[in-house]
Structure formats: structure tokens, C-alpha cells
Symmetry: C2
Subunit: 422 residues, 2 copies
């Protein structure tokens, strides 16, 4: 494509086709949607060699273009990744279908019955980077929830994404679904992103999965609602009435179970009366795992060899073996610190005191609030959603892990028998 | 204020104060919020003379500025309007408080308990025109749902709004709540709207209530999620298996109960086999009420003196005694017409056939779908929400009538006993 104008026209064509296809996916039965997912599964399984060859081209080009090891790793589809993709499809087939569920249907004084019916959102635009298996995961979740999808992957994965898209569309067609229920943008032109996020007539919501540059661009340009997945600056607060026998393993798990994930703890808050004991127990465990400790002045009084934390550390999402530690004076200071410096993602209090636990749950303004549990539990699988398309940091619509239900809405249903308004 | 820069700085000040106040409103108990509403009620009742004098200044200025009769009517606070405002406050006090409700709390295989807690959105910006009683209604609903509010009314109601705001803030202060929980923008500068809708750090959602010009401007400029209230091009479809003894009163009610409202029927669809009989029964009733009928060719074959409808009529929200009538051939054509030309607001099928009713409910993509009931029921009071801040035409977050629950979100709550992720 030669000009942004061409790209816009191309995206409009995809959009119009997606809108039309979404009428079919919206009214498809669970059986029909699962049959389509099965057909996609079979088409993909049959095309393993082609998909992996296409992926090899991307990996080779990525290496030539100097992608770093982490990016190359995310880009690569090996035997295990491929098997995981097929397994993921089977898991989505097993998920309960949220569409059509009617809840809260009650009689009103007027005699009408009023309730809510869960319905697909319509057309979902997914913008992502690097990992080509997102193409399949996202398409499967959107289809199961009755939506059409337009996917825009990173340019570094263009061949992999096109090969996967060909399998998805072949499967859809075989199962009698419109091919346009899942469309992968075929151009790497960056203007495609701008076009995709500015056509509210064809796209109902955008789910971006990518780095800060992408997110900032989308938040400036989007004319369509966006389900954001921003930073995870998660806290664990060891309150003075914590049982250290529980608190120490939780604080260790929250930091060291995995480092590069949004639900890892980045700041540890210690209530003054237990700070010394907690540090004495935890510091050797962190150090054994190679975690760099950055402490406030009070922390460093107990732990002189910790790095001095700066103001910037309290807001940082390290995604690395680094931990900021602050000693606070009680629950109020802890809650104020979390609400001020946190990213409203996931925060946990460790305490045996039910009144303080209750206040923490009520007053910390985060998408997940926890008592005596590791922040690492903030995850669609752990919460029972089956799979997640992302972890929303929005307040409206879906907050926290977003599964099938987050890809749907509710409309009102009214049943009468010739009722008129008086 | 002399420059857009000053206005932006002023709105930032309001925003910062609202954000701080929202921490207090979010954790206020139901008893505390109701006490604040009672104090506002009492302050307002005591200041009736001042409020009505301020309103008289606005009405006088409006008359001098050539506002039309309908706008002057909406602007005027008379004895009855004032009593209605006080009564509305008492009704909000009586509503159940949605905040803090925990639902779906279940044990997961890992041993943690996971559930959802309903929480306030934070700070809500309301932008509205003309009717000064919106100031009170919106402030009360936002406060009851634990949110802080920034209200920006029309310049034509500035004195009324300031007088009402003074009562609200006096009441809040008396009840021990921060005055900044409800703030009314004190400048009529249009730059205030631009500033209010572009500060996501201080405002969580915007609810506009106004005409198309306002809505278009907001949809172009907003950097904050918006709960839109767009057109209501509502349909009634009299299907061939309808019982005309029920259908005729419903079709009459949907059009003529009130004309200037978003849930009034604007297009009537008639299934071919019953078109003649339905028209024979309905046309005289509509004409008796002075409703202008605009029909498709088939309609005019039965009703030669109907105006010929043009393509534009199918998309029109008349808000007036005008009705577009189209004869369609069966359910499929009716659904396709509604999904194409409708505004996804409220649509009703009249039929005795349960299978067709089921398909209509599933396949019509509107915020309210109805069987054998007048579209006029699409309303917060009729649905049992108690009061509504608007009727959302969004698909994400709240769809259809928005009450207290639509002004809240849900966060995840996790309860453990020292659980760590394996």
C-alpha cells in the first residue's frame, strides 16, 4: 500500500466486512461456535509445517534486524508453543458460553418483566506485538463470545500471523461461518493502527497488548473505547498483626515467582513494629535469589547494605529482580501510599486482624485487592475465567482480568402482554 | 477568566480537589451519604427564595437573549419544579446503596476465595444544558453511589446552578463531607468543557446530557471514557401473528404517550399480511392525535393520503408527532431494517409467536429489546433502577438506562490464608 489513504480505505473494507460478519457470530449457537473452533484446530494442526516455516522466516528476519533475545524468544513458535496453541483452542471450546444468558428477570409493578441478556460487543480490534500465538488466542476468545475480530499484529511477526490467519479462515469457512469473522490486517504500515482505532462505525472496542509507546499512541488517537492494560506496580503490605510464618512466604512468592509479569510485587510495605523482624527473615531469601533491594531510610537502618530508594522507586514497575521497600506507620499510611504511588492493579495486605483487612479491601482503589494471598494470583486462570484477553486497568466496563464475559455486554429485555405506559 | 490557559488551570484545581474528595465519598457509609443528602435537602428547602430569585435572573436573561419557549420552559424553576427537586432527593435517599456489595465469592482450586466488590467509579463529570434541576439530580445520584462530581451546566442557567451548588455544598459541609464532593464549574467559558473532558488523571467518566452539537464536540475531543446518550430511533414491529387487540394500543402508546422523548417510537414496521388491518385500525387513531404519517409505497397503497417516506425518514428521530411506516415481508426483513436504520436504543416486536419473539430478542442489537410492550417503558424508573442519570447508547460498561449501578464498577477481592502461587 502506498499511502495512508489506501490504508484507511483497506481498513474500512475490513471494518465493513467485520461488522457484517459480527451479525452472524452474534447469533451463532454454542454448538456452531465450538464446531468452528474445532475446524480451526484441525486446519491449524494440518498446517503445522507451513506455520512453522512462515515463523522461521520472521525469526530469521528478526535476527537480521537485530531483535534482542527476549523479543526473538517471544516471536518463536517451536513444537511446544505450537502444541500449546492447539491445547489453548481446546480449552476455549470447553469454556461456558456467556452469550444469551438472561439474569435478574423480574416482574415490575406495571406488569412487564424486565431482565438483562448477555450479548457480544460486536467487533473487537486487537493490536499486539511480537507473540504470534496471540493471533489465535484472541481470535478464539472473541469468536467464542460471539464477536468478530480484526487483529493487527507486529510487523516482525507478519508471516507467522498471515499463516495462522489462513488456517483460522479456512476453519471458519469449513464450519460455515463467515471468513470475515476473524481478519488479520495484511499490511505492516503503521497507518493501519490509526485507521483501526478511529472507525467507531465498524469497531466497538480496542484491546491493545503492547509496550508503552503503542499504548500512548492509542490513548491519544483512539475514537473507540479501549480496554487498557497499563502498568502493574503491585504492593504487599505486611501489617503489624501479620503472622510472619505466612507473610514471609507470600512476600517471597509475590516478588520471585516470576519477575517480568504485571502481577509481581514491585514495592513491599512494612508496618514499623514488624519491619525489623520481617526484613531479617526476608532479606536473605531475596538475596539468595539475586533480588536487588532498594529501601527507604528506615529500611536501611535495619539493612545498611540496601540501595537507597529514591522517590521514583515508589512508582516504578521494575519487571525485574528489584524490590522497593518502605517502612510505614500503620494501615492509614500504607493505604495512602498505595493509592498515591500504585498503578491500581493488584495490592495485598498480610494481617490476622479482620477489621484492618476489611478496611484495606474497601479503601485500596485497585482492580484486585487481596488479604493474605500473593499478588501473583491476579490472573484469569486463577480467578476461574478460563482464559484472559488481558488485565484491564480501566475502571469502566471490565476491571482486572478480562475473560469471555469482559468481551460481552448486557442489553435489557422486556416481556409484556400488550402493556402500555400509563 | 481571561484565557483558555486560566480555564484549564481552574478545571485542574477542581479536578484535583474532586479526586481528593472522592476518596472520602468512596468509603462513606450508606448512613453518612444519606445524612449528607438530608442536609442538602434541608439547605435547599431553606433557600427556596434565593434559588428561585437566581432562577428568575436566568429566565429574564434567557428571554432577553431570545431563547425559545421550550428552552425557557426547561430553564424555569417554579413551585412545582422545586417541590419535585426536594422529592427527588428523598427518593435517592431511599435507593439501595450498591457500594461494597460482594458477589460471586467462591473458593478456587488453589484455596483462595475470589469474588467481586462493587465500588464507585471515582470522579464523574456531568455536562448538561438548560435544566438546572439536573444539577441536583446528578449530584445526588453520584454522591449516593460514592462518587465525587464536577458539574458543568449551560451558561443560560449559571445563576440557578450556582445557587443550587451553594445549597449542596452547605449541606455537605454540615454533614461532615468535603464540599469538593460536588463542584459546579463557575465559568461559562466553553473552554471549560474541553478542559473537563481531557483530564483523565482527575475525571474517570463523562456523562453528557445535551444536544447533538455538544455530543459531537465531546466525541471528538474527549480523552476520558464517555457514557453517551445518542439518538432514540425506536421501532415497533407488528408481526403477522400479532394480536391486533393488543398491538394497536401498544403502537398508539409508543408513538403518542409523549413525543419529545428518546424512547418514543419513530418507525412502525408492519408485516405484510397484517399491514392493511393494522393501518385501518391505527391510522384514524394517529390522525385524531395529529400525527403526520409518512409511508413506504406499500403503506401508501392502503393509505393514499400518507406522505411518501424518503430514505432519510428511516433514520430520523423526529421527537415530534410524525411517524414513518414501512411494510416488510416477515421477521428477517424487520430485524435487518432495525439493525441497519435504528439507533440501537429500544425496539419492540408485537407477536403471539414465541419462536419469533425469541429470535427478535436475540438478534436485534439494541440496548432494550421488547416483546408485546410499548417502547416507552425503556426508563430507569420503569426498570426499577429508581432514577437514571441517562440512557446509555454505549455497548461497553452500562447499556440502556443508567442508575446507581452504572455509576459504579467492580473490583476483584481475593481472600487467602497465606496462599502462594505454585
Amino acid at each position: 500500500m502506498n499511502s495512508p489513504l489506501d490504508v484507511t480505505a483497506y481498513l474500512q473494507t475490513l471494518g465493513r466486512a467485520a461488522r457484517a460478519a459480527s451479525r452472524t457470530t452474534a447469533r451463532a449457537s454454542t454448538r456452531e461456535k465450538n464446531a468452528a473452533l474445532q475446524a480451526v484446530h484441525d486446519a491449524l494442526a494440518a498446517a503445522q509445517a507451513e506455520v512453522m516455516a512462515a515463523n522461521a522466516r520472521d525469526v530469521e528476519a528478526g535476527r537480521a534486524n537485530g531483535l534482542d533475545a527476549a523479543m526473538l524468544d517471544r516471536l518463536t513458535i517451536n513444537e511446544k508453543t505450537f502444541a500449546g496453541m492447539l491445547e489453548g483452542l481446546r480449552q476455549v471450546m470447553d469454556l461456558a458460553d456467556p452469550v444469551g444468558a438472561i439474569t435478574d428477570l423480574v416482574y415490575r409493578p406495571s406488569g412487564i418483566q424486565v431482565g438483562k441478556m448477555r450479548v457480544p460487543l460486536g467487533v473487537i480490534g486487537i493490536i499486539y506485538e511480537s507473540r504470534p500465538n496471540v493471533t489465535l488466542e484472541a481470535a478464539a476468545l472473541c469468536l467464542k463470545s460471539g464477536n468478530a475480530t480484526i487483529l493487527r499484529g507486529g510487523s516482525e511477526a507478519i508471516h507467522s500471523n498471515q499463516a495462522i490467519a489462513a488456517c483460522i479462515q479456512a476453519g471458519l469457512e469449513k464450519a460455515g461461518m463467515p471468513r470475515e469473522a476473524v481478519q488479520v490486517v495484511a499490511t505492516t504500515d503503521r497507518a493501519a493502527v490509526s485507521a483501526l482505532i478511529t472507525m467507531p462505525e465498524f469497531v466497538d472496542v480496542i484491546v491493545p497488548r503492547g509496550g508503552k509507546g503503542l499504548i500512548e499512541r492509542i490513548s491519544t488517537e483512539a475514537r473507540v473505547p479501549v480496554i487498557y492494560h497499563l502498568d502493574g506496580n503491585c504492593h504487599v503490605f505486611i501489617e503489624r498483626e501479620a503472622d510472619l510464618a505466612k507473610a514471609v512466604p507470600v512476600a517471597l512468592n509475590a516478588k520471585t515467582h516470576r519477575y517480568g509479569v504485571c502481577n509481581a510485587m514491585e514495592s513491599l510495605l512494612l508496618d514499623a513494629p514488624v519491619a525489623e523482624a520481617a526484613l531479617k527473615a526476608l532479606a536473605p531469601l531475596y538475596r539468595e535469589k539475586g533480588v536487588e533491594l532498594r529501601g527507604c531510610e528506615k529500611t536501611r537502618a535495619f539493612l545498611p547494605d540496601a540501595v537507597a530508594a529514591t522517590e521514583a522507586d515508589w512508582s516504578e514497575e521494575y519487571l525485574a529482580p528489584v524490590l522497593a521497600i518502605k517502612v510505614v506507620d500503620g494501615l492509614d499510611e500504607a493505604i495512602a501510599h498505595i493509592n498515591r504511588y500504585g498503578s491500581h492493579h493488584t495490592d495485598s495486605i498480610l494481617t490476622e486482624n479482620v477489621t484492618k483487612a476489611r478496611r484495606f479491601l474497601n479503601e485500596v482503589d485497585s482492580s484486585s485487592v487481596m488479604v493474605n494471598a500473593s499478588t501473583r494470583f491476579a490472573d484469569g486462570f486463577e480467578y476461574g475465567l478460563g482464559a484472559e484477553i488481558g488485565i484491564s486497568t480501566n475502571k469502566i466496563h471490565a476491571r482486572g482480568p478480562v475473560g469471555l464475559e469482559g468481551l460481552t455486554s448486557q442489553k435489557w429485555v422486556v416481556l409484556g402482554d400488550g402493556h402500555i405506559r400509563q
